[in-house]
Symmetry: C2
Subunit: 482 residues, 2 copies
């Protein structure tokens, strides 16, 4: 194991574990994880049973070998009451890493059960960005109580972070980073890193700053290790940096990291001074969240987290159902216009949902492609026309195919004339769906609205209404009924 | 600028640019990028006009200040023919970074226009993982020609990568990594890193391997920099590693990196030997792709890339429209069962799409939440029951709210009895939608199918059919018609 001198002198604040005897592959295919690295149901059941038996020793022994991220997963799998019981049974395994890895809703729920002093004690163990996450969603009163219980230094750092809007770099950034003056050589930097005790444990790049604390360059540690000590830092650093303004939204931060393949990036205030950094291990969560939220937003499922309280899930979703009720009424009004035709030929009532349904599906396909392209900064003013024309061609191909199929089937079951009517209505509706699927999200984007939030309601309204209108209108105007 | 000695002796293969005079914030809010870091339409238009004028010098001057990732973006914004013209105008800016950053479809399209020798020359400039991306989607004949034109070493590396299935670690991993024997001290490692010329330019962690080349630990460079030279590597390295089997799917790799906040991870073959590494800058693209694809898959839009050839987009989408045609027919058959009732009371035809539409939306909400939770490994056998019960409660709340609204409105416009019938049908359909929204994706997942691919068609079929059946069936059985 590590020698004692080293431990006392330079052991970083939170040293890596050197667990002798741990099998190197013990996070894949072990007795606790399935092949997709999820905790096995049998294992979860064993913990639950030990908990129900009140056998805290057995619970502890079962949970102790888990990685903090897996302990967080285990807590999330449990019901609310079990969760608190489990936390109580494994108090000294409930490390800051476990707290930081917990789902937001689960963490908030667990924190609300604790007195302010206990939450403050946990917050002090965390890095500032994780502590902010812990505190930001508490009620205003509880938040004040926790802040008051913090020591002055931590309180100042957390209050500074809370002064920035949610989901901006200022709120999310880490305030622990390594910055050095530009007159240093590589050797000076290495000596500084060896001697300075108060540094973050893991860092990947060092920022070089001028006298006014403006970042002038970035050095990857691998370059420092591979360069002679006498070389000036300004000769090895990369000057072409990607700087993140404190006010930048997390979505933009995520796109920057992806586009420029960043490991870390300096965050600067309004005066261009270095105030923090974002690192890729934090940004991966943002990337995943931002990329994954479109499917939830488009469906009107709000945050869509399975741990969200039921009341929040209800209010988020029912809003969109009510909006959808409004748009469905539009479709109903169109059907009502053709009431006489339907009474005369009930086949219209039987077939009309098909036109609306396929149109809705075609619109959703185009809308999903468009929303994703906008989110990835791939669809801009410079290529909107091209994409619209592309989608029109796809829509014509899809429309023609579906029209032939439904036209022939309808012609056989009902009459050739009704087949022709439904075929024409189908082409019209699929083309309209393609247009709406591109234009609705693009217009929301131009209006600086998130295209994923409300596009669905509008596209569905358009495809439903147009489906009924084209089909019933053609039936009447073709002389089939009327 | 860098001194010559250093450049000659230890300059890494592909050194960072030290562009004097570049403004540090020149990637944000400059004259070429908008506030969301997209290329401004004016700028793109200027390049296009210079290209149309045949003024290659002006094109070059406009494009030259761009980062390679922005040059890739610019190429993607252009039409196919313009793209090739642009590439021809800026040949010496078309670096391997630009090629590596290009969208897959755009890159394939550009490569298909080049002779095999030129593609091979580009591939040799790329790191193996990027070269594999370049070659893997070529036609079999062209692939053979390119491989034949490669030098033996590159060919062997690429053929080895191609021998693994697409989207597995073996295909995606980088073969350039730093591995050292376990008897080294920190000082030995630093000397090795300084002296060994043939190392990757950027690396963040060093792998420690035993005599059989099994990884036994990982060292972050920051620990090496901060530890005395005499300490043994085995005392500073982290033994508790996350190892990626070569056969692991990219989705699992992405989840591993997120869960354990990894910067890089060793890839091991079936015998546990270190054969490559995955680094987070490559994994962020996978995370984004995997998280973003659910919205495309659920809508039936296939890959959903705006650069996908039209024929591919058509075949991917029309399949799902045809499937949807089948499920819409089921709904039509149910309506047909109630043809007599509709003829008697045309209000049924007017209102029935509302029940189906709201039910469909409620089903989509629940399905989106479920699919996302499954993708994030949050929904497992251990908590399926709890989530189902949670969704039932949300559905009852939503159903009750919508039922009251539509029931009262229908009662006023038509008859109280019809209001009661549609209210009851709405509750039934929203609850069924909640059940289907959870169970359909969960069942696909248990059957080892991607729940995002086919869930939509089934959930929509269930909510459409049940909507019509509940509404029309209740209308008949309540004695309203019949």
């Amino acid at each position: 194991m590590a020698d004692e001198t080293r431990e006392d002198e330079i052991r970083p604040a939170d040293p890596p574990l050197a667990e002798d005897g741990a099998r190197p592959d013990d996070r894949v295919d072990d007795e606790r994880h399935d092949e997709e690295n999820r905790l096995k149901p049998d294992y979860v059941r064993a913990v639950r049973e030990a908990l129900e038996d009140g056998d805290k020793g057995a619970v502890y022994d079962l949970v102790e070998p888990l990685h903090p991220a897996d302990i967080a997963d285990l807590l999330e799998l449990f019901e609310r009451d079990e969760r608190r019981e489990l936390a109580a049974a494994i108090t000294d395994l409930m490390s800051s890493e476990v707290i930081a890895e917990l789902n937001d809703y689960v963490r908030d729920d667990m924190m609300e059960a604790l007195p302010a002093g206990a939450v403050a004690a946990i917050a002090e163990q965390l890095e500032t960005d994780d502590a902010v996450q812990l505190i930001e969603d508490l009620g205003p009163e509880e938040q004040r109580a926790v802040l008051a219980a913090l020591d002055a230094e931590n309180r100042a750092a957390i209050e500074s972070a809370l002064s920035y809007p949610e989901e901006t770099a200022g709120r999310l950034m880490s305030r622990e980073f390594v910055a050095v003056p530009e007159h240093m050589t590589v050797g000076d930097l290495i000596d500084f890193l060896r001697e300075e005790r108060d540094l973050a444990n893991d860092f990947w790049e060092v920022y070089v700053v001028d006298h006014a604390h403006h970042p002038v360059g970035t050095c990857a540690l691998s370059w420092i290790l591979r360069t002679p000590r006498s070389v000036a830092l300004t000769d090895v650093m990369k000057r072409d940096q990607t700087l993140i303004p404190v006010t930048m939204d997390q979505e933009e931060v995520a796109l920057m990291f992806q586009k420029y393949a960043l490991i870390s990036a300096a965050v600067v205030d309004g005066n261009g001074r270095l105030v923090g950094q974002m690192t890729v291990d934090d940004v991966v969560h943002i990337i995943s969240e931002e990329a994954g939220e479109d499917v939830l937003l488009l469906s009107g499922a709000g945050d869509g987290d399975i741990n969200e309280p039921i009341r929040d899930a209800y209010t988020a979703r029912v809003r969109w159902l009510i909006a959808n009720l409004g748009t469905a009424l539009v479709a109903s009004l169109i059907i009502a216009m053709f009431g006489a035709a339907i009474e005369q030929l009930v086949a219209l009532a039987i077939l009309m949902p098909i036109v609306a349904s396929i149109g809705g599906n075609a619109g959703t396909q185009t809308m999903a492609v468009t929303v994703r392209a906008i989110a990835m900064n791939q669809l801009t003013q410079a290529n909107t026309g091209r994409i619209l024309w592309r989608e029109m061609r796809v829509a014509l191909l899809n429309g023609a195919t579906i029209a032939v199929l439904i036209g022939i089937a309808t012609g056989i079951v009902f009459t050739p004339m009704l087949g022709a009517v439904i075929a024409a209505a189908m082409v019209i509706n699929i083309v309209v769906a393609g247009l709406a699927g591109v234009l609705v999200p693009v217009i929301f984007d131009r209006l600086k609205q998130d295209p994923a939030v409300a596009s669905s309601v509008f596209v569905t309204m358009i495809t439903d209404s147009m489906g009924f209108f084209a089909f019933l209108g053609l039936a009447v105007s073709s002389g089939l009924v009327g």
